[in-house]
Amino acid sequence: MRAELERAGRVADPDGEGLAGSDRCGDRVRFTLRLRGGTIEQIRFGVQGCPSATGAAAELARRVEGGSLLAAAAIPLDALDVPSRECGAIAHDALHAALADALGRVQLVPDERRRIVAMSGGVDSAIALHRERAAGHEVVGLTLRLWIDEHAPDAERACCSPTAVVRARETCHALGVPHFSIDAQDAFREAVVEPFVRGYASGETPNPCTTCNAGFRLDLLVESAARLGSATVATGHYARIVRRGGRAFVARGADRAKDQSYMLARVDADLLGHLALPLGDARKPDVRAEASAAGLAQAALPESQDICFLGGGALAPFLERAGVSRAPGAIEAEDGRVLGEHAGALSFTPGQRRGLGVAAAEPLFVQRIDAARNVVVLAPRERLARLRVELREARVADGCDRAYVKLRGRSPAVATAVSRADGGIVLDLDEPVYGIAPGQTAALYDEEGVVIGSGVIAG
């Protein structure tokens, strides 16, 4: 270790800088590095730590200096010769923070074989990585660190928790694959979480996942992929990309129960052209079996279907943490009769029946939220029925006048007539749909399950 302390110090005006530490033991490691092209020309470390953290920092600096950025991102923690893995991890984390920082300043020479795989830490993206690698691509794992909410009841259930990032990294490193994680928390808050909170505050039921995929996450992934010299990003979505007349469309995955095409419905065609979806033909049980056979720890992880930033918790406390005030108000019938009281209107959604706390002769459902008056309006099921839905921020293929529409992530598609109106689209459904929630994404499919349009359900 002594000789390697010679790389202690800082690189002046670094291209990448990363810091990691543990409050528990007080250890801290900082890397600074300078790039020349895709090569780490110089790296220096600072450390205040135990022998393992110090030894790991020194060893990493020695191993990565003079090598490529990609090779540095592929060194497994377990390859380090230190007595304590936990302490070595501090140095490993600091290096990865520096590599992520350097990613913002790098432009690798494009390489057609290279493919970026978006890794959440879950089983689907892990198998996407395995499949892309088996298909002959030179794969690189990339994880976006989107949200850490230490007040959430189960912060580790957020798909981008620190544990999930480490799991994604370990999945890559077990295959000798480089891994990068990008801290995008601030941008995510601005682009996804804040609009979500504003939507609820105005009485809508926004869909943050479709917003995130369309306006934030995939953009960032494709942009980062370009920096790493790759034109294509693979994700673990259960959906397919089809091409028609040179344009890319998203289409239903082969596993109808697991289909995630709805989640990608709002993504631009240009962006879809940069996507590869290796699980489009897969069924979830097969993916789990593949993960088991590959010995992946993720094989047994529970499904994560919640909104990631809720962190396993309920919506109402999240909104409160986000500063949306919760005021008690009336629960009313359509005719204005007061049926009861609620603790806060915002966490209700149209179609909801559970947790209303109102006794009535017939089953009552939430019909709508009157945000201006802080009132939740209930009605019998038949009164929730709607045959006409207006979409804003909508687009649909030219000449399309019939489609199948999904109005929520987990609802079946309904046949509908499509017509254009001022700045939007009007859907006249063939059969009534109950509990339509303004703010949710509507995805329009054709007969073949291809997404041909989308919009946001207007109020």
């Binding site: 302390l5 250890d27 220096r44 450390v47 022998p51």
Partner: protein
Amino acid sequence: MERIYCDHAATTPLSDVAWAAMEPFLREQFGNASEPHWAGREARAGLDRARAVAADALGVAPAEVIFTGGASEADNLAVLGRLTAGPGRIVASPFEHPAVWLQLESLAERGYEVVFLQSGPDGRVPAAEFDRHVRSGDLLCCCIWANNITGVIQPVSEVAAICAERGVPLHLDAVQACACVPVDVGILPGAVTAAAAAHKLGGPKGVGLLCGRGLDSLDAVIHGGPHERGLRPGTENVAGASGFAAALAHAQAGEARAPRRRGIRDAYEAAVAGSLERVRVVGAGVERLPGHSLLVIDDVRGATLVSLLDEQGIAAAANSACASASAKPSHVLLALGLSEAEARSALRLSFGELNDESQLPRIVSAVVDAATALRAAAAAA
């Protein structure tokens, strides 16, 4: 590269006198000392001799010595053997060895009132602190004679007088003290017990003793036969006891060696403190074991310094193991009033039989160079 051992407080090699005393009992006189036949009688004679030698070295009667399987066992026996009266109050110094400390922490969780006394930054608990807290009716008072990390010697005679006056049994962990300062247990008043370990002073590992008049009022906590007054049953380790007794007598007769150790220690501390800024000597102003040195070197992780010294062939100690479940520094260092960061910056060297002045330049430059390099690395963190 010549290897240098500066960790005598951790353990020591078996001395010639100890080996000579042990050897006959390992193969020739192998008997079980509890048997009445010739083989047993030979062993019994050896054991009696060892007990007499050890008792003489510590100023107690042979009947006031029992041999144990190490000092941790003796410490536990001395504490647990006082508890048959049921939950009560125990007073202890904040510098107890884990063999006492962890036992007391466990008792505190089980309803005993355990009072840990306060210390000043010099590592010595004033006798007045015992005077203030020890009460008649207490089950036990514990005071380590000299702490294993700091080497600071506690005011044992005054503490014994206070406890004797109030009728409170006193247990002294004399493990480190026995190796390099006079330990006269017999002269102390009251129901005193003292623990010692062979391997810290040139004896074999796995042998300890508990001694003192306090044995009379101690209850058995392990059962299995009449050996060692029924307090430590099991076939006697005659070779171990013989080696221990010889080494103990040698150590206790070795006052002449103390100035040499002190000379090496003081020269080392002066040289390091003269070359590095922000270094403190713990216990500089009070009586310490002559070979012990505990330095707090700011912004230098002790454990990492120790590993760099190890690469230079120098064995030292940091007493601040991390990667343990708690990652908390030693309670002893915190009791000195050090912050957690300072406690992680401690370096202990303990000089002894294997050291001489000619090693000093290498030791000093290794410590200074490594600390300087680590400070540079820390500044960049």
